[in-house]
């Protein structure tokens, strides 16, 4: 039964892939190729690739550099910087771009897009690399030193090998987010596949050329996933052997200290200070907005949608997470991976697929909350999957033996022992989904029932009409709602340093 449920969830997650491909190739590959082979598509491709390469490189440099300074040097205030460099994730990229363009007139194009997306997404690299640098046993580095390698060659040969999987994982997230990013890039007038798909849809309601672009975008996402997998290779960096792990030593900065402090301060000011300052300034002018602002309805629908999606997503993760944590059978691992693959698709692809399905098969569901929640589930299931799986794995199977010996059958054992013990970890996953949903823009714009505004879409319509004063309260609300994300991410990176 568990297996059946897991297969069902995986199939549901794969649905968008199939639908988009089918839709794009509906009228034959020739026409699809024709739609694809246009100068406009070439420009989109160049833009997308340039953005991914530039932002990826900058994020890697900033993320690894900041992680090394915070975790491996005697930089004062490591605890503060650690939080400061994860916190930018609580500012959605489209809010960040609003903050920058509201502050700096004429802030747009490739340069603006690279700056904003780098400042928004470098924490995806910082977080895993810092966790890894903090947790790796210095034993390996000491062994390298004892074998005659100097400090620089040790860093080059041992350090990079250790950091590589975390860096690649972080870069993968950066790339996937860039492919999916709509709000920030639209606002900065930098067209990529995702923004083009939405424009096409909104202007022409032309689902076929949109689907062809979506197919191209999907191929890009899968390419990124494959590249990451190839680069990661089969190497494992597990600790071999027992013995207590030690904390790595911290390098003294000496005369480099002022420079190091200046760099981390500058990064924090750009990533956190600018949006805070900009949103704060516009907030004080909110009474100059064209219309009076009532956050109530938007907050209400955001919370309801977020809670519904968090609940359904968490329930949906359960079968596969249980199978993976308890048996690690091949089928279970495949099912878990499938949910990851589907959710690495950009939100716009998932949304288009669900629109096509709803219009084609269940017309009454088109533009209703259930379809929107389904999109959220498909998009955010890995966030809950990781925590649910860890929560299940953290309950020793021996405890159920103990409960059986004390007279409980399997069902009562689950209710009295496993469920209470899993609840906390599962709630953390649900909270991650809630936050993701409450700041989701792309799929919500496409799928939300007519007249339903979430904080993100309300912010979007205000900032699209350049009414910065009206957008500021929504921006502030979005940031407040996402703030716990910082804590949740820091907490999970402490528990599971290898991911």
């Amino acid at each position: 039964m568990l297996r059946g449920a897991a297969v069902l969830v995986a199939a549901l997650c794969l649905l968008p892939l199939v639908v988009v491909a089918a839709k794009a190739l509906e009228s034959g590959p020739a026409e699809a190729a024709e739609l694809l082979w246009r100068p406009r598509v070439g420009e989109l491709l160049r833009n997308t690739v340039a953005l991914v390469v530039l932002t990826g490189t900058l994020s890697a440099v900033l993320g690894v550099g900041a992680a090394w300074l915070v975790e491996r040097t005697a930089l004062p205030g490591a605890g503060f910087w650690r939080v400061a460099f994860v916190a930018p994730l609580a500012v959605p990229a489209f809010v960040n771009s609003f903050a920058w363009s509201a502050l700096v007139p004429g802030f747009e194009g490739l340069g603006g897009a690279v700056i904003v997306t780098t400042l928004s997404y470098f924490p995806f690299v910082f977080l895993p690399v810092a966790a890894l640098l903090r947790s790796t046993d210095p034993g390996l580095e000491e062994a390298a030193r004892s074998l005659g390698l100097g400090p620089w060659r040790t860093a080059a040969r041992v350090g990079t090998a250790q950091v590589r999987p975390a860096l690649l994982g972080g870069l993968l997230l950066v790339a996937l987010h860039l492919l999916a990013e709509f709000g920030a890039l639209e606002m900065l007038r930098f067209p990529t596949f995702t923004t083009a798909i939405l424009d096409q849809y909104e202007v022409a309601f032309d689902s076929r050329s949109g689907s062809v672009l979506a197919l191209a975008l999907m191929v890009l996402a899968v390419t990124v996933l494959t590249l990451e997998m190839l680069a990661r290779g089969r190497t494992r960096h597990a600790r071999v052997g027992g013995g207590a792990a030690r904390r790595p030593p911290r390098a003294r900065l000496g005369r480099g200290l002022p420079l190091a402090l200046a760099s981390v301060t500058a990064l924090a000011v750009l990533a956190l200070g600018v949006p805070a300052w900009s949103i704060g300034t516009w907030l004080t002018r909110t009474d100059q907005a064209y219309e009076s602002i009532d956050l109530g309805p938007a907050v209400g629908s955001t919370v309801v949608l977020g809670l519904a999606a968090a609940l359904v997503t968490t329930l949906a993760t359960f079968p596969a997470a249980w199978l993976v944590a308890r048996s690690r059978s091949r089928l279970a691992v495949v099912l878990e991976r499938v949910t990851y693959l589907a959710s690495s698709l950009p939100g716009v692809v998932v949304a288009l697929a669900l629109i096509a399905l709803a219009i084609g098969f269940v017309r009454p569901l088109y533009q209703t909350a259930p379809v929107l929640v389904l999109a959220y589930v498909i998009l955010f299931i890995p966030r809950a999957m990781v925590t649910t799986r860890a929560a299940i794995a953290a309950v020793p199977p021996e405890l159920s033996d103990a409960a059986r010996a004390l007279g409980d059958g399997p069902a009562r054992t689950f209710l009295r022992v496993q469920l209470p013990l899993m609840l906390r970890g599962t709630l953390a996953g649900a909270a991650l989904v809630f936050i993701a949903v409450s700041t989701e823009l792309t799929a919500t714009l496409l799928l939300a029932p007519t007249g339903t505004e979430t904080l993100a879409t309300a912010f979007w319509s205000a900032s699209s009409s350049l009414d910065y004063a009206a957008a500021a309260p929504y921006a502030a609300a979005l940031v407040v709602l996402s703030a716990p994300l910082t804590w949740l991410l820091l907490r999970s990176s402490h528990e599971e340093p290898s991911r």
Binding site: E398, L399, D401, A403, R404, A405, G407, D408, R416, P420
Partner: protein, 345 residues
């Protein structure tokens, strides 16, 4: 309390057989220790009795009830046994009191008198009832696990290496407290362990297990004195073996002709001599001359390795009182206290 009978038990993990035709009876109210190295199948045996695992063949009886075998399968929660595992496996989300009353019917779970009684039985102060498992030491956790197992007045108590995760000092104290509690409840107990001292001191019957078979079972003194083979002999403690030949009530070996029970006919045998049976006298005294080649000092006692004079230069190990250990290179004369045990080749 009931007795426990296993007959012809075979069991396997996927593709690897673990137990082969195991028979074992545990008398009502007695304690049996199953002793063997890790991987010998002793934990599997316990899991078969508990019902966490199905045997491929054989029968398990608890008292007059058949619980496994012959088409019968009673799930673990219906078998009425108490179970204490190596790590205790207390429920981390429940207090000590809630752990202890976990298996009781709902109306009895609030009975604080019963909790106090059980805590006292395992030698813990009553104010521990409100604590969480993570506020207890390892030894205290094991005592609570036992109290939890005994709360339901089980027919049989199964202990799976319950002391091996504890520090040596704590181990002895916890073992004594557990033994006292089990004796007070007149429980039928099966203890699984790889620690020979624990098995010999804790149990009324010791069953020696090797590669999925029980090779010998009997009273501790009996199996220690008269193991059926060399492997059993070694698994119960330090042992020396001397090759010898039987004849007319004696065995002739490097230590001369020694009177040994069962030495009839003429055949080659091994003599088992425990190190504490060897007595070291001054050089030139009665006994066989030998030279000390190595010593291992433990404090209260020491092991002395000796090379007997003579052609084959047999090596023996003797246990001496620590401070009286002769230095390496010194010469001694060796005599045997008590009768060696004969093991057929």
């Amino acid at each position: 309390m009931s007795d426990l009978r296993l007959s012809g038990i075979s069991a396997s993990h996927p593709r690897t057989p673990v137990l082969h035709d195991v028979d074992l009876s545990v008398a009502s109210g007695s304690t049996t220790a199953v002793l063997g190295p890790s991987g010998c199948g002793k934990t599997t045996l316990l899991r078969v009795v508990a019902g966490f695992m199905r045997p491929d063949a054989g029968e398990v009886h608890i008292g007059s009830d058949l619980v496994a075998g012959g088409g019968t399968w009673v799930p673990p929660e219906k078998r009425g046994f108490g179970y204490v595992a190596q790590e205790g496996n207390l429920f981390p989300h429940l207090t000590v009191a809630a752990n202890i009353t976990y298996g009781l019917p709902r109306r009895d779970r609030k009975d604080s008198a019963r909790v106090a009684e059980l805590l006292e039985l395992v030698g813990l102060p009553g104010d521990h009832a409100g604590r969480r498992p993570d506020q207890l030491s390892g030894g205290q956790q094991q005592r609570v696990a036992l109290a939890r197992a005994l709360a339901r007045r089980p027919r049989v108590v199964l202990l799976d290496e319950p002391f091996s995760a504890l520090d040596p000092e704590l181990r002895v104290a916890t073992r004594d407290a557990v033994a006292a509690a089990l004796a007070a409840e007149k429980a039928t107990v099966v203890l699984v362990t790889h620690d020979q001292a624990e098995a010999l001191s804790f149990a009324d019957q010791v069953a020696i297990m090797h590669e999925g078979r029980i090779t010998q079972a009997g009273a501790p003194v009996e199996v220690y004195r008269a193991p059926t083979d060399r492997r059993s002999a070694v698994s119960l403690g330090e042992a020396c073996f001397l090759a010898g030949r039987t004849g007319d009530g004696v065995v002739t070996c490097a230590l001369g002709s020694l009177p040994v029970r069962g030495a009839s006919g003429e055949r080659d045998v091994d003599l088992l001599i425990r190190p504490e049976q060897l007595h070291l006298g001054v050089d030139g005294g009665a006994g066989c001359p030998a030279q000390v080649t190595r010593t291992e000092f433990f404090g209260h006692d020491a092991l002395v390795e000796l090379r007997l004079d003579g052609v084959d230069g047999a090596l023996l190990r003797a246990r001496t009182i620590g401070p009286l250990t002769p230095p390496v290179g010194s010469r001694v004369s060796v005599t045997v206290d008590g009768e060696p045990h004969l093991i057929d080749r």
